[in-house]
Protein backbone atom coordinates (compact mmCIF):
# COMPACT_ATOMS: atom_id res chain seq x y z
CA UNK A 1 0.00 0.00 0.00
CA UNK A 2 1.39 3.40 -0.93
CA UNK A 3 1.06 6.63 0.95
CA UNK A 4 -1.67 8.03 -1.25
CA UNK A 5 -3.58 4.79 -1.04
CA UNK A 6 -3.41 5.14 2.71
CA UNK A 7 -5.04 8.51 2.63
CA UNK A 8 -7.83 7.36 0.36
CA UNK A 9 -8.32 4.33 2.57
CA UNK A 10 -8.37 6.60 5.61
CA UNK A 11 -11.81 7.77 4.57
CA UNK A 12 -13.19 4.47 3.42
CA UNK A 13 -11.53 1.81 5.55
CA UNK A 14 -13.08 1.53 8.97
CA UNK A 15 -10.19 -0.21 10.71
CA UNK A 16 -7.56 2.17 9.43
CA UNK A 17 -9.67 5.15 10.37
CA UNK A 18 -10.15 3.81 13.88
CA UNK A 19 -6.44 3.20 14.35
CA UNK A 20 -5.44 6.59 12.95
CA UNK A 21 -7.97 8.37 15.13
CA UNK A 22 -6.73 6.43 18.15
CA UNK A 23 -3.06 7.24 17.60
CA UNK A 24 -3.90 10.88 16.88
CA UNK A 25 -5.84 11.19 20.12
CA UNK A 26 -3.11 9.41 22.02
CA UNK A 27 -0.47 11.75 20.56
CA UNK A 28 -2.56 14.78 21.46
CA UNK A 29 -3.18 13.81 25.08
CA UNK A 30 0.42 12.74 25.59
CA UNK A 31 1.73 15.99 24.10
CA UNK A 32 -0.60 18.05 26.25
CA UNK A 33 0.18 16.34 29.54
CA UNK A 34 3.80 15.71 28.60
CA UNK A 35 4.34 19.48 28.56
CA UNK A 36 3.53 19.53 32.25
CA UNK A 37 5.85 16.61 32.98
CA UNK A 38 8.71 18.28 31.11
CA UNK A 39 8.22 21.65 32.78
CA UNK A 40 8.06 20.02 36.22
CA UNK A 41 11.37 18.34 35.48
CA UNK A 42 9.64 14.99 35.82
CA UNK A 43 10.59 13.75 32.38
CA UNK A 44 11.70 10.38 33.66
CA UNK A 45 8.62 9.87 35.79
CA UNK A 46 6.75 8.85 32.65
CA UNK A 47 9.33 6.18 31.90
CA UNK A 48 9.10 4.78 35.41
CA UNK A 49 5.30 4.82 35.39
CA UNK A 50 5.00 3.02 32.08
CA UNK A 51 7.40 0.30 33.17
CA UNK A 52 5.66 0.07 36.53
CA UNK A 53 2.40 -0.64 34.72
CA UNK A 54 3.60 -3.95 33.27
CA UNK A 55 3.12 -6.19 36.34
CA UNK A 56 -0.37 -4.71 36.70
CA UNK A 57 -1.27 -5.95 33.22
CA UNK A 58 0.10 -9.42 33.93
CA UNK A 59 -1.59 -9.67 37.32
CA UNK A 60 -4.92 -8.49 35.92
CA UNK A 61 -4.70 -11.26 33.35
CA UNK A 62 -3.75 -13.87 35.95
CA UNK A 63 -6.58 -12.88 38.25
CA UNK A 64 -9.38 -12.51 35.70
CA UNK A 65 -8.07 -14.86 33.04
CA UNK A 66 -9.59 -12.57 30.47
CA UNK A 67 -7.77 -10.54 27.84
CA UNK A 68 -10.24 -7.69 27.81
CA UNK A 69 -8.06 -4.63 27.27
CA UNK A 70 -10.03 -2.48 29.70
CA UNK A 71 -9.46 -4.89 32.56
CA UNK A 72 -5.77 -5.15 31.74
CA UNK A 73 -5.40 -1.37 31.53
CA UNK A 74 -7.16 -1.04 34.87
CA UNK A 75 -4.48 -3.31 36.29
CA UNK A 76 -1.85 -1.15 34.59
CA UNK A 77 -3.38 1.96 36.10
CA UNK A 78 -3.31 0.52 39.61
CA UNK A 79 0.27 -0.68 39.44
CA UNK A 80 1.36 2.53 37.68
CA UNK A 81 -0.14 4.55 40.52
CA UNK A 82 1.50 2.30 43.12
CA UNK A 83 4.85 2.84 41.36
CA UNK A 84 4.35 6.60 41.37
CA UNK A 85 3.41 6.56 45.02
CA UNK A 86 6.52 4.52 45.85
CA UNK A 87 8.79 6.92 44.01
CA UNK A 88 7.31 9.85 45.86
CA UNK A 89 7.54 8.33 49.29
CA UNK A 90 11.08 7.13 48.60
CA UNK A 91 12.15 10.65 47.70
CA UNK A 92 10.45 12.27 50.66
CA UNK A 93 11.23 9.67 53.33
CA UNK A 94 14.76 8.56 52.50
CA UNK A 95 17.89 10.37 51.46
CA UNK A 96 17.69 8.89 47.97
CA UNK A 97 17.62 11.32 45.09
CA UNK A 98 14.70 11.15 42.68
CA UNK A 99 16.72 9.65 39.81
CA UNK A 100 17.70 6.74 42.05
CA UNK A 101 14.11 6.23 43.14
CA UNK A 102 12.91 6.37 39.54
CA UNK A 103 15.54 3.87 38.40
CA UNK A 104 14.77 1.50 41.25
CA UNK A 105 11.03 1.48 40.73
CA UNK A 106 11.40 1.25 36.96
CA UNK A 107 13.65 -1.79 36.98
CA UNK A 108 12.00 -3.57 39.91
CA UNK A 109 8.49 -3.28 38.49
CA UNK A 110 9.61 -4.07 34.97
CA UNK A 111 11.58 -7.09 36.17
CA UNK A 112 8.59 -8.34 38.10
CA UNK A 113 6.37 -7.74 35.09
CA UNK A 114 8.68 -9.71 32.80
CA UNK A 115 8.78 -12.53 35.31
CA UNK A 116 5.00 -12.70 35.33
CA UNK A 117 4.86 -12.57 31.53
CA UNK A 118 7.19 -15.54 31.13
CA UNK A 119 5.24 -17.37 33.82
CA UNK A 120 2.01 -16.75 31.90
CA UNK A 121 3.58 -17.95 28.65
CA UNK A 122 4.55 -21.25 30.22
CA UNK A 123 0.97 -21.94 31.23
CA UNK A 124 -1.08 -24.46 29.25
CA UNK A 125 -3.70 -21.93 28.35
CA UNK A 126 -4.54 -21.07 24.78
CA UNK A 127 -5.64 -17.65 25.87
CA UNK A 128 -2.19 -16.53 26.92
CA UNK A 129 -0.73 -15.21 23.69
CA UNK A 130 -0.61 -11.56 22.87
CA UNK A 131 0.18 -10.08 26.27
CA UNK A 132 3.65 -9.22 25.07
CA UNK A 133 2.10 -6.66 22.74
CA UNK A 134 2.17 -4.34 25.74
CA UNK A 135 5.96 -4.32 25.58
CA UNK A 136 6.22 -2.56 22.25
CA UNK A 137 2.58 -1.84 21.54
CA UNK A 138 0.39 -2.90 18.66
CA UNK A 139 -1.75 -0.18 17.22
CA UNK A 140 -3.55 -2.65 14.98
CA UNK A 141 -5.40 -3.98 18.02
CA UNK A 142 -7.12 -0.65 18.63
CA UNK A 143 -10.86 -0.98 18.32
CA UNK A 144 -13.63 1.55 18.39
CA UNK A 145 -14.22 1.10 22.09
CA UNK A 146 -10.55 1.98 22.81
CA UNK A 147 -10.84 5.09 20.69
CA UNK A 148 -13.99 6.10 22.56
CA UNK A 149 -12.15 5.81 25.86
CA UNK A 150 -9.22 7.80 24.45
CA UNK A 151 -11.61 10.49 23.26
CA UNK A 152 -13.32 10.61 26.63
CA UNK A 153 -10.06 10.89 28.58
CA UNK A 154 -8.59 13.46 26.18
CA UNK A 155 -11.69 15.64 26.44
CA UNK A 156 -11.81 15.29 30.21
CA UNK A 157 -8.11 16.16 30.54
CA UNK A 158 -8.50 19.17 28.28
CA UNK A 159 -11.45 20.33 30.34
CA UNK A 160 -9.56 19.93 33.62
CA UNK A 161 -6.48 21.69 32.23
CA UNK A 162 -8.56 24.64 31.01
CA UNK A 163 -10.54 24.82 34.22
CA UNK A 164 -7.47 24.88 36.48
CA UNK A 165 -5.14 26.54 33.97
CA UNK A 166 -4.08 29.35 36.28
CA UNK A 167 -3.60 26.95 39.19
CA UNK A 168 -1.49 24.52 37.16
CA UNK A 169 0.61 27.35 35.79
CA UNK A 170 1.52 28.65 39.23
CA UNK A 171 2.06 25.10 40.48
CA UNK A 172 4.60 24.56 37.71
CA UNK A 173 6.36 27.86 38.17
CA UNK A 174 6.44 28.39 41.92
CA UNK A 175 4.89 25.76 44.22
CA UNK A 176 5.70 27.43 47.51
CA UNK A 177 4.34 30.75 46.39
CA UNK A 178 1.16 29.02 45.21
CA UNK A 179 0.95 27.53 48.70
CA UNK A 180 1.12 30.91 50.41
CA UNK A 181 -1.70 32.16 48.18
CA UNK A 182 -3.92 29.43 49.60
CA UNK A 183 -3.96 26.94 46.74
CA UNK A 184 -3.95 23.30 47.71
CA UNK A 185 -0.84 22.37 45.79
CA UNK A 186 -0.89 18.78 46.99
CA UNK A 187 -4.29 18.28 45.42
CA UNK A 188 -3.19 19.93 42.17
CA UNK A 189 -0.07 17.80 42.15
CA UNK A 190 -2.06 14.60 42.61
CA UNK A 191 -4.51 15.68 39.91
CA UNK A 192 -1.87 16.38 37.25
CA UNK A 193 0.11 13.25 38.14
CA UNK A 194 -3.03 11.15 37.92
CA UNK A 195 -3.79 12.53 34.47
CA UNK A 196 -0.23 11.77 33.34
CA UNK A 197 -0.47 8.20 34.65
CA UNK A 198 -3.81 7.81 32.89
CA UNK A 199 -2.38 9.01 29.57
CA UNK A 200 0.56 6.63 29.88
CA UNK A 201 -1.64 3.65 30.66
CA UNK A 202 -3.87 4.42 27.68
CA UNK A 203 -0.83 4.52 25.43
CA UNK A 204 0.54 1.13 26.49
CA UNK A 205 -1.62 -0.82 24.03
CA UNK A 206 -0.46 1.31 21.11
CA UNK A 207 3.11 2.33 21.86
CA UNK A 208 4.09 -0.10 24.59
CA UNK A 209 5.81 0.04 27.94
CA UNK A 210 9.30 0.59 26.61
CA UNK A 211 8.69 3.54 24.30
CA UNK A 212 5.84 5.23 26.10
CA UNK A 213 7.91 7.95 27.74
CA UNK A 214 9.05 9.20 24.33
CA UNK A 215 5.40 9.85 23.43
CA UNK A 216 5.14 11.98 26.53
CA UNK A 217 8.39 13.91 26.21
CA UNK A 218 9.17 14.30 22.52
CA UNK A 219 6.21 16.48 21.47
CA UNK A 220 6.62 18.65 24.57
CA UNK A 221 10.37 19.08 24.11
CA UNK A 222 9.83 20.01 20.47
CA UNK A 223 7.03 22.46 21.28
CA UNK A 224 9.15 24.23 23.91
CA UNK A 225 11.57 25.22 21.16
CA UNK A 226 9.01 27.20 19.23
CA UNK A 227 7.37 29.31 21.89
CA UNK A 228 7.82 31.15 25.16
CA UNK A 229 4.18 30.88 26.11
CA UNK A 230 2.80 28.02 28.17
CA UNK A 231 -0.56 27.86 26.39
CA UNK A 232 1.06 27.79 22.96
CA UNK A 233 3.51 25.15 24.14
CA UNK A 234 0.75 22.85 25.38
CA UNK A 235 -1.30 23.35 22.21
CA UNK A 236 1.67 22.85 19.92
CA UNK A 237 2.76 19.72 21.79
CA UNK A 238 -0.73 18.27 21.30
CA UNK A 239 -0.54 19.03 17.57
CA UNK A 240 2.94 17.52 17.27
CA UNK A 241 1.78 14.43 19.15
CA UNK A 242 -1.32 13.97 17.00
CA UNK A 243 0.72 14.54 13.84
CA UNK A 244 3.27 11.90 14.88
CA UNK A 245 0.41 9.50 15.61
CA UNK A 246 -1.27 9.91 12.23
CA UNK A 247 1.91 9.98 10.13
CA UNK A 248 3.40 7.09 12.08
CA UNK A 249 0.27 5.03 11.49
CA UNK A 250 0.28 5.96 7.80
CA UNK A 251 3.89 4.89 7.33
CA UNK A 252 3.50 1.65 9.21
CA UNK A 253 0.28 0.87 7.32
CA UNK A 254 1.88 1.56 3.95
CA UNK A 255 4.99 -0.50 4.69
CA UNK A 256 4.27 -4.05 5.69
CA UNK A 257 5.54 -5.40 8.98
CA UNK A 258 6.59 -2.04 10.38
CA UNK A 259 5.48 -1.88 13.98
CA UNK A 260 3.40 1.27 14.57
CA UNK A 261 4.63 2.31 18.03
CA UNK A 262 8.30 2.66 17.12
CA UNK A 263 7.43 4.48 13.89
CA UNK A 264 5.28 6.99 15.79
CA UNK A 265 8.08 7.54 18.28
CA UNK A 266 10.61 8.02 15.48
CA UNK A 267 8.39 10.58 13.78
CA UNK A 268 8.11 12.44 17.08
CA UNK A 269 11.88 12.20 17.38
CA UNK A 270 12.28 13.77 13.93
CA UNK A 271 10.07 16.67 15.00
CA UNK A 272 12.28 17.16 18.06
CA UNK A 273 15.40 17.09 15.91
CA UNK A 274 13.99 19.61 13.43
CA UNK A 275 12.80 21.85 16.28
CA UNK A 276 16.15 21.84 18.01
CA UNK A 277 17.92 22.92 14.87
CA UNK A 278 15.49 25.12 12.98
CA UNK A 279 13.40 26.81 15.66
CA UNK A 280 13.20 30.57 15.14
CA UNK A 281 13.31 31.14 18.89
CA UNK A 282 15.79 28.72 20.42
CA UNK A 283 17.14 26.75 17.46
CA UNK A 284 20.82 25.89 17.19
CA UNK A 285 21.02 27.22 13.65
CA UNK A 286 19.63 30.58 14.64
CA UNK A 287 21.94 30.79 17.63
CA UNK A 288 24.96 30.02 15.50
CA UNK A 289 23.88 32.50 12.84
CA UNK A 290 23.31 35.24 15.40
CA UNK A 291 26.67 34.50 16.98
CA UNK A 292 28.52 34.77 13.67
CA UNK A 293 26.60 37.85 12.63
CA UNK A 294 27.40 39.48 15.92
CA UNK A 295 31.07 38.66 15.57
CA UNK A 296 31.18 40.10 12.08
CA UNK A 297 29.37 43.23 13.15
CA UNK A 298 31.81 43.79 16.01
CA UNK A 299 34.69 43.18 13.67
CA UNK A 300 33.47 45.76 11.17
CA UNK A 301 32.75 48.32 13.82
CA UNK A 302 36.13 47.87 15.43
CA UNK A 303 37.91 48.31 12.10
CA UNK A 304 35.81 51.32 11.20
CA UNK A 305 36.51 52.96 14.56
CA UNK A 306 40.22 52.37 14.02
CA UNK A 307 40.00 54.07 10.63
CA UNK A 308 37.97 56.86 12.15
CA UNK A 309 40.75 57.44 14.68
CA UNK A 310 43.24 57.86 11.85
CA UNK A 311 41.02 59.99 9.64
CA UNK A 312 39.38 62.29 12.18
CA UNK A 313 42.42 64.55 12.61
CA UNK A 314 42.43 65.48 8.95
CA UNK A 315 40.37 68.41 7.82
CA UNK A 316 39.29 66.39 4.83
CA UNK A 317 37.84 63.15 6.16
CA UNK A 318 38.05 61.61 2.71
CA UNK A 319 41.83 61.94 2.75
CA UNK A 320 43.36 58.69 1.43
CA UNK A 321 45.54 56.53 3.70
CA UNK A 322 47.78 53.61 2.90
CA UNK A 323 46.30 50.18 3.58
CA UNK A 324 49.63 49.30 5.14
CA UNK A 325 48.82 51.45 8.19
CA UNK A 326 46.02 49.04 9.02
CA UNK A 327 48.48 46.23 9.53
CA UNK A 328 49.12 47.67 12.98
CA UNK A 329 45.54 46.84 13.83
CA UNK A 330 45.19 43.17 14.61
CA UNK A 331 41.52 42.80 13.81
CA UNK A 332 42.03 43.87 10.21
CA UNK A 333 41.63 41.49 7.26
CA UNK A 334 41.28 42.02 3.53
CA UNK A 335 37.77 40.58 3.83
CA UNK A 336 36.58 43.20 6.33
CA UNK A 337 37.98 45.91 4.08
CA UNK A 338 35.95 44.59 1.17
CA UNK A 339 32.83 44.26 3.26
CA UNK A 340 33.20 47.78 4.59
CA UNK A 341 33.52 48.96 1.01
CA UNK A 342 30.32 47.19 -0.05
CA UNK A 343 28.56 48.83 2.89
CA UNK A 344 29.71 52.15 1.48
CA UNK A 345 31.67 53.15 4.57
CA UNK A 346 35.04 53.38 2.81
CA UNK A 347 36.53 53.75 -0.65
CA UNK A 348 39.46 51.64 -1.77
CA UNK A 349 41.65 52.77 -4.66
CA UNK A 350 44.92 50.97 -5.31
CA UNK A 351 46.91 50.74 -2.10
CA UNK A 352 44.91 53.46 -0.38
CA UNK A 353 41.64 53.62 1.51
CA UNK A 354 39.59 56.64 2.48
CA UNK A 355 36.60 57.15 4.74
CA UNK A 356 33.35 58.16 3.04
CA UNK A 357 30.87 60.66 4.43
CA UNK A 358 28.56 57.76 5.39
CA UNK A 359 31.36 55.86 7.07
CA UNK A 360 32.37 58.93 9.03
CA UNK A 361 28.84 59.50 10.32
CA UNK A 362 28.42 55.87 11.23
CA UNK A 363 31.67 55.92 13.18
CA UNK A 364 30.80 59.18 14.95
CA UNK A 365 27.41 57.91 16.07
CA UNK A 366 28.99 54.66 17.23
CA UNK A 367 31.61 56.61 19.11
CA UNK A 368 29.00 58.72 20.85
CA UNK A 369 26.90 55.68 21.70
CA UNK A 370 29.93 54.04 23.28
CA UNK A 371 30.55 57.12 25.37
CA UNK A 372 26.96 57.23 26.61
CA UNK A 373 27.04 53.54 27.49
CA UNK A 374 30.28 54.01 29.38
CA UNK A 375 28.75 56.82 31.41
CA UNK A 376 25.68 54.71 32.13
CA UNK A 377 27.60 51.72 33.37
CA UNK A 378 29.87 53.75 35.62
CA UNK A 379 26.93 55.50 37.26
Amino acid sequence: MSFSEYFSLLFSDYTLRTISLGTALLGAICGMLGSFAVLRKQSLLGDAISHAALPGIALAFLITGAKDSNVLLLGALVSGLIGTFWIRSMVSKTHLKSDTALGLVLSLFFGFGMLLLTFIQKQPNANQAGLDKYLFGQAATLIEKDVQILLLVTTASLFILLLFWKEFKILLFDVEYANTLGFNTKLLDILITFLIVLAIVLGLQTVGVVLMSAMLLAPAAAARQWTNKLSVMVGLAAVFGAFSGVVGTAISASQNNLSTGPVIVLIAGCIVFISFIFSHKRGLLLREYKFLQNRRELHHNKTLLFMYDIAKDHTNIGHPHAIKILNNFHGFTVKTLKQLETKGFILVSGQDWSLTEKGYHHATSMFKKNEIENVNTTN
Partner: protein, 245 residues
Protein backbone atom coordinates in the same frame (compact mmCIF):
# COMPACT_ATOMS: atom_id res chain seq x y z
CA UNK B 1 1.45 54.23 72.27
CA UNK B 2 3.09 51.00 71.29
CA UNK B 3 2.35 49.61 67.85
CA UNK B 4 0.07 46.55 67.67
CA UNK B 5 1.80 43.25 66.97
CA UNK B 6 1.65 42.22 63.30
CA UNK B 7 3.26 38.80 63.67
CA UNK B 8 3.57 36.79 66.88
CA UNK B 9 5.65 33.62 67.02
CA UNK B 10 5.48 31.48 70.19
CA UNK B 11 7.74 28.54 71.08
CA UNK B 12 8.40 27.73 67.42
CA UNK B 13 10.54 24.64 66.82
CA UNK B 14 11.24 23.28 63.34
CA UNK B 15 13.29 20.28 62.26
CA UNK B 16 13.75 18.74 58.81
CA UNK B 17 15.40 15.52 59.90
CA UNK B 18 16.84 15.09 63.37
CA UNK B 19 18.62 18.32 64.06
CA UNK B 20 16.37 21.28 64.84
CA UNK B 21 16.68 24.16 62.40
CA UNK B 22 14.80 26.51 64.67
CA UNK B 23 14.65 26.05 68.43
CA UNK B 24 12.02 27.56 70.66
CA UNK B 25 11.65 30.87 68.88
CA UNK B 26 9.60 33.62 70.49
CA UNK B 27 9.26 36.66 68.29
CA UNK B 28 7.02 39.67 68.03
CA UNK B 29 7.08 41.84 64.94
CA UNK B 30 5.37 45.19 65.58
CA UNK B 31 3.22 46.69 62.86
CA UNK B 32 4.90 49.21 60.58
CA UNK B 33 8.52 48.20 61.03
CA UNK B 34 11.09 47.44 58.38
CA UNK B 35 12.86 44.47 59.91
CA UNK B 36 15.98 42.61 58.88
CA UNK B 37 16.50 39.01 59.90
CA UNK B 38 20.23 38.33 60.06
CA UNK B 39 22.27 35.29 60.93
CA UNK B 40 24.86 32.93 59.46
CA UNK B 41 24.13 30.33 56.78
CA UNK B 42 21.94 27.57 58.16
CA UNK B 43 20.64 29.79 60.94
CA UNK B 44 17.06 29.11 59.87
CA UNK B 45 16.22 32.53 58.48
CA UNK B 46 14.34 31.26 55.42
CA UNK B 47 12.82 28.49 57.52
CA UNK B 48 11.43 31.07 59.94
CA UNK B 49 9.74 32.95 57.13
CA UNK B 50 8.46 29.78 55.51
CA UNK B 51 7.06 28.58 58.83
CA UNK B 52 5.23 31.85 59.33
CA UNK B 53 3.80 31.51 55.82
CA UNK B 54 2.67 27.96 56.48
CA UNK B 55 4.93 26.43 53.81
CA UNK B 56 6.77 24.38 56.44
CA UNK B 57 4.95 22.54 59.20
CA UNK B 58 6.64 23.19 62.54
CA UNK B 59 7.12 20.51 65.20
CA UNK B 60 5.81 22.78 67.90
CA UNK B 61 4.74 26.35 68.45
CA UNK B 62 2.09 28.76 67.29
CA UNK B 63 2.14 31.62 64.84
CA UNK B 64 -0.43 34.37 64.48
CA UNK B 65 -0.81 37.25 62.07
CA UNK B 66 -2.75 40.10 63.66
CA UNK B 67 -3.88 37.64 66.35
CA UNK B 68 -5.30 35.11 63.89
CA UNK B 69 -3.75 32.05 62.25
CA UNK B 70 -2.13 32.52 58.85
CA UNK B 71 -4.87 30.62 57.02
CA UNK B 72 -7.37 33.32 57.92
CA UNK B 73 -5.00 36.19 57.16
CA UNK B 74 -3.57 35.06 53.83
CA UNK B 75 -4.80 38.10 51.97
CA UNK B 76 -2.89 40.42 54.28
CA UNK B 77 0.42 38.72 53.63
CA UNK B 78 2.71 38.84 50.56
CA UNK B 79 5.81 36.79 49.92
CA UNK B 80 8.94 37.28 47.84
CA UNK B 81 10.77 33.94 47.65
CA UNK B 82 14.45 33.57 46.88
CA UNK B 83 15.09 34.29 43.23
CA UNK B 84 16.88 30.98 42.80
CA UNK B 85 13.89 28.95 43.97
CA UNK B 86 12.22 28.91 40.55
CA UNK B 87 13.24 27.95 37.03
CA UNK B 88 13.51 31.18 35.07
CA UNK B 89 13.44 29.29 31.78
CA UNK B 90 9.72 28.69 32.34
CA UNK B 91 7.76 29.72 29.24
CA UNK B 92 6.11 32.91 30.45
CA UNK B 93 6.45 36.69 30.38
CA UNK B 94 7.29 39.27 33.05
CA UNK B 95 3.72 40.54 33.14
CA UNK B 96 2.40 37.02 33.51
CA UNK B 97 4.57 36.37 36.56
CA UNK B 98 3.39 39.60 38.17
CA UNK B 99 -0.20 38.62 37.44
CA UNK B 100 0.32 35.58 39.65
CA UNK B 101 0.21 38.00 42.57
CA UNK B 102 -3.51 38.45 41.90
CA UNK B 103 -4.27 34.72 41.94
CA UNK B 104 -4.75 34.64 45.71
CA UNK B 105 -7.53 37.22 45.64
CA UNK B 106 -9.11 35.57 42.61
CA UNK B 107 -9.25 32.18 44.28
CA UNK B 108 -9.88 28.94 42.43
CA UNK B 109 -10.80 28.78 38.75
CA UNK B 110 -11.48 32.51 38.17
CA UNK B 111 -9.09 34.00 35.61
CA UNK B 112 -7.39 37.40 35.86
CA UNK B 113 -9.29 40.08 33.92
CA UNK B 114 -8.78 43.70 32.92
CA UNK B 115 -8.67 44.91 36.52
CA UNK B 116 -5.92 42.44 37.48
CA UNK B 117 -3.92 43.25 34.34
CA UNK B 118 -4.05 46.92 35.19
CA UNK B 119 -2.79 46.17 38.70
CA UNK B 120 0.06 44.13 37.26
CA UNK B 121 1.08 46.96 34.92
CA UNK B 122 1.02 49.43 37.80
CA UNK B 123 3.25 47.19 39.88
CA UNK B 124 5.63 46.75 36.94
CA UNK B 125 5.83 50.52 36.63
CA UNK B 126 6.59 50.88 40.35
CA UNK B 127 9.63 48.63 40.04
CA UNK B 128 10.70 50.31 36.79
CA UNK B 129 10.03 47.26 34.61
CA UNK B 130 7.05 48.41 32.55
CA UNK B 131 8.99 48.38 29.28
CA UNK B 132 9.93 44.75 29.91
CA UNK B 133 6.37 43.50 30.41
CA UNK B 134 6.35 41.21 27.37
CA UNK B 135 9.89 39.97 27.85
CA UNK B 136 10.40 36.25 28.31
CA UNK B 137 11.59 35.90 31.90
CA UNK B 138 14.77 34.03 31.04
CA UNK B 139 15.90 37.06 29.07
CA UNK B 140 15.87 39.27 32.16
CA UNK B 141 18.96 39.99 34.24
CA UNK B 142 19.17 38.81 37.85
CA UNK B 143 18.26 42.25 39.13
CA UNK B 144 15.32 42.50 36.77
CA UNK B 145 14.05 39.09 37.83
CA UNK B 146 14.20 40.21 41.44
CA UNK B 147 12.19 43.32 40.57
CA UNK B 148 9.59 41.12 38.88
CA UNK B 149 9.27 39.08 42.08
CA UNK B 150 8.91 42.28 44.07
CA UNK B 151 6.23 43.54 41.67
CA UNK B 152 4.37 40.25 42.07
CA UNK B 153 4.28 40.79 45.84
CA UNK B 154 3.23 44.44 45.44
CA UNK B 155 0.23 43.33 43.39
CA UNK B 156 -0.95 41.32 46.39
CA UNK B 157 -1.54 44.66 48.14
CA UNK B 158 -0.88 43.14 51.55
CA UNK B 159 -0.17 44.63 54.97
CA UNK B 160 2.81 42.42 55.74
CA UNK B 161 5.60 41.58 53.29
CA UNK B 162 8.05 38.73 53.76
CA UNK B 163 11.10 38.77 51.52
CA UNK B 164 13.80 36.14 51.29
CA UNK B 165 17.13 37.76 50.36
CA UNK B 166 15.78 40.27 47.87
CA UNK B 167 19.22 41.84 47.54
CA UNK B 168 21.04 38.69 46.58
CA UNK B 169 22.84 38.87 43.26
CA UNK B 170 21.43 42.25 42.23
CA UNK B 171 23.41 45.24 41.03
CA UNK B 172 23.70 48.52 42.90
CA UNK B 173 20.94 50.31 40.98
CA UNK B 174 18.45 47.51 41.63
CA UNK B 175 19.42 47.42 45.30
CA UNK B 176 18.66 51.12 45.61
CA UNK B 177 15.40 50.74 43.69
CA UNK B 178 14.32 47.89 45.96
CA UNK B 179 15.22 49.57 49.23
CA UNK B 180 13.35 52.71 48.14
CA UNK B 181 10.25 50.64 47.53
CA UNK B 182 10.64 48.95 50.92
CA UNK B 183 10.95 52.30 52.64
CA UNK B 184 7.89 53.53 50.78
CA UNK B 185 5.97 50.49 51.98
CA UNK B 186 6.94 51.24 55.57
CA UNK B 187 5.93 54.86 55.12
CA UNK B 188 2.45 53.75 54.11
CA UNK B 189 2.18 51.74 57.32
CA UNK B 190 3.07 48.29 55.98
CA UNK B 191 5.22 45.82 57.84
CA UNK B 192 8.22 44.48 55.94
CA UNK B 193 10.37 41.55 57.06
CA UNK B 194 13.52 40.85 55.07
CA UNK B 195 16.08 38.05 55.28
CA UNK B 196 19.27 40.01 54.86
CA UNK B 197 22.93 39.14 54.44
CA UNK B 198 24.86 42.37 54.19
CA UNK B 199 25.46 43.47 57.78
CA UNK B 200 27.02 46.77 56.70
CA UNK B 201 23.73 48.05 55.30
CA UNK B 202 21.50 47.00 58.21
CA UNK B 203 21.60 50.34 60.08
CA UNK B 204 21.06 52.28 56.87
CA UNK B 205 18.17 50.22 55.47
CA UNK B 206 16.26 48.89 58.47
CA UNK B 207 14.78 50.17 61.71
CA UNK B 208 14.31 46.77 63.38
CA UNK B 209 16.51 43.73 63.41
CA UNK B 210 16.30 40.11 64.57
CA UNK B 211 19.45 38.13 65.24
CA UNK B 212 18.91 34.46 64.56
CA UNK B 213 21.06 31.39 64.83
CA UNK B 214 18.75 28.41 65.36
CA UNK B 215 17.72 30.21 68.53
CA UNK B 216 16.63 33.80 68.64
CA UNK B 217 19.56 35.86 69.89
CA UNK B 218 17.89 39.25 70.03
CA UNK B 219 15.17 41.33 68.44
CA UNK B 220 14.45 45.01 68.66
CA UNK B 221 15.15 48.45 67.19
CA UNK B 222 18.41 48.63 65.26
CA UNK B 223 19.62 51.61 67.26
CA UNK B 224 19.28 49.67 70.54
CA UNK B 225 20.48 46.19 69.72
CA UNK B 226 22.59 46.27 66.56
CA UNK B 227 25.91 46.04 68.38
CA UNK B 228 29.07 43.98 68.45
CA UNK B 229 27.83 41.98 71.41
CA UNK B 230 24.80 40.59 69.56
CA UNK B 231 26.76 40.13 66.35
CA UNK B 232 29.36 38.08 68.20
CA UNK B 233 26.67 35.98 69.87
CA UNK B 234 25.02 35.32 66.50
CA UNK B 235 28.02 34.68 64.31
CA UNK B 236 30.20 33.06 66.94
CA UNK B 237 33.26 35.11 66.12
CA UNK B 238 34.38 38.43 67.43
CA UNK B 239 32.49 40.57 65.00
CA UNK B 240 33.22 44.22 64.48
CA UNK B 241 31.02 46.26 62.24
CA UNK B 242 31.05 49.96 61.60
CA UNK B 243 27.77 51.30 62.84
CA UNK B 244 26.96 54.76 61.58
CA UNK B 245 24.61 56.31 64.06
Amino acid sequence: MKNPIAVRVDDLTVAYNYKPVLWDIDLEIPEGVLMAIVGPNGAGKSTLIKSILGIIKPIAGSITIFDKPYKKQRKHVAYVPQKGSVDWDFPTTAQDVVLMGTYGDLGWIKRPGAKEKKQALEALEKVGMLSFKNRQISQLSGGQQQRIFLARALVQNASIYFMDEPFQGVDASTEIAIINILKELRKSGKTVVVVHHDLQTVPEYFDWVTFLNVKKIATGPVKDIFNDDNLTKTYGINYKVAINK
